[in-house]
């Protein structure tokens, strides 16, 4: 049963882990290295890991019976490493100004990336679960990282306790599935479930419900989202960015792979529950966002809304939907990072994060205001930017699976979302700044921002390459392995 393990397949993770240790040690032994440079160093490591994982492009290997190293993994490895690197870069200034123990901070980010990679790679519940905990733990610690910021502590506490609680529930669900199907391998579970399940359906459904709950918590779907706004608001802003990008992306990578690999046979039983969650999530996220006065909190709710759209992809689970979901996920991650970069830069200068305090930004830092505007418009699904194309494809995919009504609801709420984004834009362009002084130009951050915005435009104007990559990767995750695009799926309507 124990296959010979090819450890080299996990090279990127080892690199990250080693790099994390390296970052900690180098601060110990070479204090002369500035705090900011640490961040860039860590970013370097993450980027390196991302590059390293490109070795396995168009490859389909397995690590034991635990993890796949295939295009799906590679895609997400690159994405996660990219997110990690970006966050490290945009953290640098913030950390050096406002946080203690920078090296551990970066180390934790890198470890979080490992966890995320694991979640995407695993095709087995135990590994996936452990990776998930690794990611979560790092995030718990990082959320509470601003030790003397009361909101940070509180956010940490909420995130931590509720995380533990939900992971307990998740585990119980796993237990039931394991008990009923006798395995934690996605494929095996899939086979069992595609057979006759009438004798075990009680256990299966209960387990399914609890797993949906646990995953819902991870990706912040209503009603498991409650911690999100507080965690976002309390955490140090770069960490907010990390949560919104990394943990959501990882959560969906896991969610998608699990449901495509294991639960697809039962799709007709759970699709409408996911659809219900999606509706609730979109509605609550977008409607409550209208009321927000704090930028981070606004982005928190908006990201909840985005989760609603992403759940469309799960509800309409098919090869197309999966690709559309991942595409939107990528677009969302890039856009959201761009938005947060702007928020961080503004916070670095002014220490302000209320929407009302953004007034006159366009006067003081036109470039920043422009980028934030672009990011927000993209989140609202406006054309020229990523949001439009990805949403269009995602919704169309849902409509293709007889979920036109759901696509309609989603379209409606993405229209509602435009309102609160416009509120922010109004503040930036109409408000009169207190003082006229221009802001300095932090070249490194601005370059990062430029790259992200470029990404937003690329996905918005020519998503073909990205989408093709995604197509290839998502083909591998379905029951019965490789799939031609559009081909009919087990149990799919």
């Amino acid at each position: 049963m124990s296959a010979s393990l090819q450890w080299e397949l996990l090279a990127p993770e080892y690199l990250l882990a080693g790099w994390a240790a390296f970052v900690i040690l180098i601060e110990l032994f070479w204090g002369g290295l500035g705090k900011e440079r640490l961040g860039w160093l860590a970013a370097l490591g993450a980027a390196g890991a991302g590059g390293l994982s490109l070795i396995w492009v168009d490859d389909a290997k397995q690590f034991g019976e635990l993890a796949d190293i295939n295009d799906y993994t590679t895609l997400f490895r690159v994405l996660f490493c990219g997110i990690g690197a970006t966050v490290c870069i945009i953290s640098a200034r913030y950390v050096s100004d406002r946080l203690l123990h920078p090296s551990e901070y970066y180390a934790l980010i890198l470890l979080a990336v490992i966890g995320a990679n694991g979640m995407a790679a695993a095709h087995e519940l135990l590994t996936a679960y452990i990776s998930l905990e690794l990611l979560s733990f790092s995030l718990y610690a990082l959320t509470a990282y601003a030790k003397f910021d009361l909101r940070s502590n509180e956010a940490g506490l909420k995130y931590m306790l509720l995380g533990a609680f939900s992971s307990a529930i998740f585990l119980y669900g796993i237990g039931l599935i394991y008990g009923t199907t006798g395995s934690t391998q996605y494929a095996v579970i899939g086979d069992v479930l595609s057979g006759d399940t009438s004798d075990i359906e009680w256990g299966v459904y209960l387990g399914l419900a609890m797993m949906i709950g646990g995953l819902g918590f991870k990706v912040a779907a209503v009603p498991f989202h409650m911690y999100t706004p507080d965690a976002y608001e309390g955490a140090p802003i770069p960490i907010t960015a990390l949560i919104s990008a990394l943990s959501k992306a990882a959560g969906f990578a896991f969610f998608l792979k699990l449901f495509a690999g294991a639960f697809l046979p039962l799709i007709d039983d759970w699709r409408y529950f996911i659809a219900g969650l999606a509706v609730a999530t979109m509605a609550l996220g977008n409607l409550v966002a209208i009321q927000q006065r704090n930028m981070k909190r606004l982005l928190a709710y908006s990201s909840i809304g985005q989760v609603g759209y992403l759940l469309l992809g799960i509800a309409a689970l098919s090869h197309d939907a999966a690709s559309a979901l991942v595409l939107h996920l990528i677009g969302y991650a890039v856009t959201n990072l761009a938005a947060f970069t702007c928020v961080i830069l503004y916070y670095n200068w002014t220490g302000k994060e209320e929407i009302g305090e953004y007034k006159g930004l366009a006067e003081r830092a036109p470039y920043l205001a422009l980028c934030l505007t672009i990011a927000l418009f993209s989140l609202a699904g406006m054309p020229l930017f990523a949001g439009f194309a990805t949403k269009f494809i995602l919704f169309q995919a849902a409509a293709d699976q007889d979920l036109l009504w759901l696509a309609g609801v989603a379209a409606f709420f993405s229209f509602v979302s435009l309102y609160y984004y416009l509120i922010v834009i109004r503040e930036m362009y109409l408000g009169e700044p207190e003082e006229k002084t221009r802001f300095p130009t932090p070249w490194l951050e601005y370059t990062a921002l430029a790259v992200l915005i470029a990404g937003v435009f690329l996905v918005g104007l020519y998503p073909k390459p990205v989408l093709e990559a995604v197509e290839g990767s998502t083909a591998t995750i379905f029951v019965g392995g490789e799939l031609e695009s559009g081909e009919d799926l087990v149990g799919a309507p």
Partner: protein, 501 residues
């Protein structure tokens, strides 16, 4: 020549970064650049209009089709293509857009606050409008449709003007927000309709030339067409979803009002024609009476409300509602004559309403009020301005020899031909009401003894005069010699399924 359409989209997009490069302390530079781009666009648009001639089939010319996304998932062979092409309906509207942006640049010459940002957004808007008129792919049609809405909020909210009235007030943010939200809200319906259409057609492509070949189930058409009708109708100022239009126009700066009432509102009607009626002829047939009723309501309602306005800009805004009502009537007649009239009316209204906004803006810049009851006899101080305004007004009340008459006459004939007596009669009546408010306005504000308060008024700026002259030239051209327009339009309209003779 094949790339001319591409240029129409690319030029306005390309100048945006150029504007960014211009240091903001040289606004004059950006003005010149804007003028340059505007002229280029005008020339190209005119070129398109002149060279265009119908050559059978769906009448598309200057076609250009590039792969964008295909053979992926639900997208089959050329699923989404960047497909440009102009037909006889698009050509006049392209010309119109060229003229209006050209005029708008000169009218906006006196924008001093964040000049370059203004022009960036303005040209973004223009590229969107062009895109809609020349896109033959449903995805990109909608893409550009949204692009055209994108910059509106900032354009109005930053450079607009709030207005106070005794009983109520309309801050510019309100106008801007309402406009943006209503337009995007309308596009939600379009969104849904497109999804449904794509799935139903099952051709795996958004290419409209292919989609129009699919014979879709009639019941399906019946429930999807209203989505297009209402969704585009919002932008076309269809009653009762028109309220964004007066407030939006009032709040917007002159140049934007021109583009917005002049061209943007046409996108809605164009969408109903190009997407709704072309792809879903049976649905259109089924809902034509409703559209007709809404159109007539809008026409009468708009003109009567305009009658009650004392604020010049509101009057013009409501007149737009009324004239777009005519357009919808023409479309709803589903007869070739009526639809021709509708397209003609789009052009005519575009030119004359742009002219009206030019005038109102010129007056407001000096007087800082728009309440016609407070003026009087200013024709003495601003003769040219008054003459321009009078011409615009006369065109809108349908004086033969001016563009408005040709269009409205076709619409009425078409409506009668389709057998909507009541609609035709009410339409002609509302044209008479138009005469009432136009002349009332002229008599109140421009004629009569000069009110000393306005002794200091000066003739409007040369830029504005130039813009006005161009627009008037167009109004006269179409009013006296409509054949070039009609030749282009009618053959294309003839090809549209569901259009009777």
């Amino acid at each position: 020549m094949d790339l001319v359409l591409l240029a129409l989209i690319v030029i306005p997009l390309a100048v945006c970064p150029l504007f960014m490069l211009i240091p903001s302390q040289y606004p004059q530079l950006s003005r010149y650049l804007a003028a340059l781009a505007g002229t280029a666009l005008l020339v190209l648009s005119a070129l398109v209009f002149i060279v265009y001639e119908f050559d059978g089939g769906s009448g598309l010319r200057f076609e250009l089709q590039w792969d964008w996304l295909e053979n992926i998932g639900f997208l089959g062979e050329n699923g989404i293509t960047f497909y440009l092409g102009v037909d006889g309906v698009g050509a006049p509207l392209v010309l119109l857009n060229g003229i209006v942006i050209f005029a708008a640049v000169f009218v906006s010459w006196n924008i001093t606050h964040r000049t370059k940002d203004f022009f960036i957004l303005l040209f973004l808007l223009v590229s969107g409008v062009y895109g809609v008129f020349i896109s033959q792919d449903l995805f990109f049609f909608f893409f550009w449709y949204e692009v055209a809405v994108l910059p509106m909020y900032l354009l109005i909210a930053v450079w607009g003007a709030s207005s106070e009235f005794p009983t109520f007030s309309r801050p510019k943010e309100y106008g801007a927000m309402k406009l943006t939200m209503m337009l995007v809200g309308g596009s939600v319906l379009i969104f849904i309709a497109i999804f449904a259409l794509f799935v139903e057609a099952g051709a795996g492509t958004f290419d409209m030339t292919v989609l129009r070949e699919q014979s879709l189930d009639e019941d399906f058409q019946k429930w999807v067409y209203p989505l297009f009708m209402v969704g585009f109708g919002v932008l076309a100022g269809m009653w009762p979803l028109h309220t964004w239009s007066p407030d939006g126009h009032v709040a917007a700066p002159t140049g934007v009002s021109m583009l917005h009432a002049g061209v943007l509102m046409k996108l809605g009607a164009f969408g109903i024609l190009r997407v709704g009626m072309t792809l879903l002829p049976e649905g259109a047939e089924f809902w034509a009476p409703v559209l007709m009723a809404l159109g007539v309501t809008g026409a009468v309602y708009g003109s009567v409300s305009a009658l009650a306005q004392t604020d010049l800009k509101y009057m013009v805004g409501y007149s737009s509602v009324s004239h777009m009502g005519f357009v919808l009537m023409g479309l709803a007649s589903m007869t070739q004559i009526g639809v021709n009239g509708a397209v003609l009316q789009m052009f005519a209204h575009g030119a004359m309403t742009a002219l009206m906004f030019t005038n109102v803006g010129a007056l407001y810049d000096q007087a800082h009020i728009r309440d016609m009851t407070q003026f009087g006899g200013i024709a003495k101080r601003m003769p040219r301005h008054s003459a321009f305004f009078a011409i615009a007004g006369l065109s809108s009340l349908g004086l033969p020899g001016l563009a408005g008459f040709v269009a409205e006459f076709h619409i009425f004939v078409g409506v009668f031909r389709a057998g909507y007596w009541w609609a035709g009669g009410l339409g002609i009546l509302s044209a008479a009401i138009t005469a009432t408010y136009v002349l009332r306005m002229l008599a109140r504000a421009y004629f009569g003894p000069l009110n000393d308060k306005w002794d200091g008024l000066k003739e409007m700026r040369l830029g504005e005069q130039f813009a006005g002259a161009v627009l008037i030239a167009m109004i006269l051209f179409m009013g006296l010699w409509p054949a070039p327009f009609i030749d282009r339009i009618s053959e294309t309209v003839e090809m549209i399924p569901g259009i009777t003779g």
